[in-house]
Amino acid sequence: MEIIQMNNVYFRYRPSDKLVLKNINLTIQSGEWVSIVGHNGSGKSTLAKFMNALFTPIEGQVLVSGLSTSNVNNHTLIRRKVAMVFQNPDNQIVGPTVEDDVAFGLENCGVPYEEMVQRVQESINKMGLNGLELSEPHRLSGGQKQRVALAGAISMNPKILVLDEATSMLDPTGREEVIRYVQKLNRDENMTVITITHDLKEAVLSDRMVVMKDGAIIGNGLPSALLTNKDLLKQARLRQPFIYELVEALTCRGVPISVGQISEEELVKTLCKLQQQM
């Protein structure tokens, strides 16, 4: 089922500015994990903000669960379906303590007290934040802060979760932490996940990769297929992940490895087999 549809979307901030999005056509299926990649300034973060009506197209349309974002009356409903986690962990936590912040969205839509307490606790548990309920945000690590933001997002029982460069300011541990929880939401709860990132190692984990450059989509397909396309990556000013570089270099040197879905484990297995054959 199509959950997000973008048809011929164009956008600029002010009439005098140049276009930041050009003719975007993108369909996202329910339960999919789509990563949108591109260098800084490619328009990927702007695109994300169309998914919950923070921006609306100047031309074309965006449908979320069939609701057009161009109709202001749909905004409240759309924002309940699409939760968003942003880049800077410090700038999105509103509440003075973890539990207050997780409750913020629920308070906004008037959830009754008893239900609210239960949903807050559930979300906190799901994000592994037990014991930190009363902690103040500035005492948490970056990864923990982003998990608080995630907990706040999922407490609303959204259909779609958009992560707008949510891991780019974290250290490797924090990054792993956040991605692990997001992966779990996608797998176990069938949540549609959209991650905006320039980290291709993160994009490899997704079902589908969308490559952006200068406000346009220049690639859309399986990560394994796009990541072997050197020209495309070069155009997008992205770096091929190490494992892809390695396979390519080995193939050039006459090692017979098929280029397909590659993981470190698979490559090592293939190499071991090859050695025995020789």
Partner: protein
Amino acid sequence: MLDHVIIGQYVPGKSFVHRMDPRAKLICLMLFVVFLFISRHPFVLIGGLILTTTAFYYAKIPLRFYIKGMRFIVIIILFTFILHLFLTREGPAIFSTPIFTIYLGGVTQGGFMATRLLVLFIMASLLTLTTTPVALTDGLETLMKPLKKLGVPTHELAFMMSIALRFIPTLLDETAKIIKAQRARGANFTQGSLWNRLKAVIPIFIPLFVQSFKRAEDLATAMEARGYEGGEGRTKFRLLTWLKKDTYAVIVFALYALIVLIVKIGGGN
């Protein structure tokens, strides 16, 4: 440098006063402040002293925490005392020089005013020492509710306070970081003329403003994304629970107020 700024001087604990409803604490403090200053009768001050001592005992907060925040207040108290000492011309003279004379009335008046300020300060500290800033905000918001009918944006005010509380530590960290970065670039905030020192502050304030605006913008976007549409139709996650002991505490302070009133009317002082 900024490490030592402790915002709100809350000292965690589980004492009777800690566990009181913030609304009850606020009401008690308000009653206390108003009625302590309404009359100059010594009984009123003695009553105030008794109440303060009792509250101090039940709060179980070591004296040093009061003293820590007191330096500035002590100056005010001393100033008040000295002012009264020299300016009051009542009772017999007890000390005399060609320039000034000190009267007994000055000593008692000064002592009276100083004690009154001290008692007031201790009582107010008791509130901030035993109540988290968040709880205080909650208490204020509910107490201010009646003002909403008069058009006062009580939800917005309380929400602003709560966001300020959330961001003060973040901004302090940020300030410390900017100061360090500019010092690494040779900035000197402690030497030179006043004008130069003022100028030295610009490289701190501008980045801080720029960053704060960026934060505010991000925060507004995040709040919008999380469905914030103002106070209408919002429910509250934080519930304040009013217990019997809160009622008792308020009754005690109300009794004090009543006694003060009787003294005031009866004594006409």
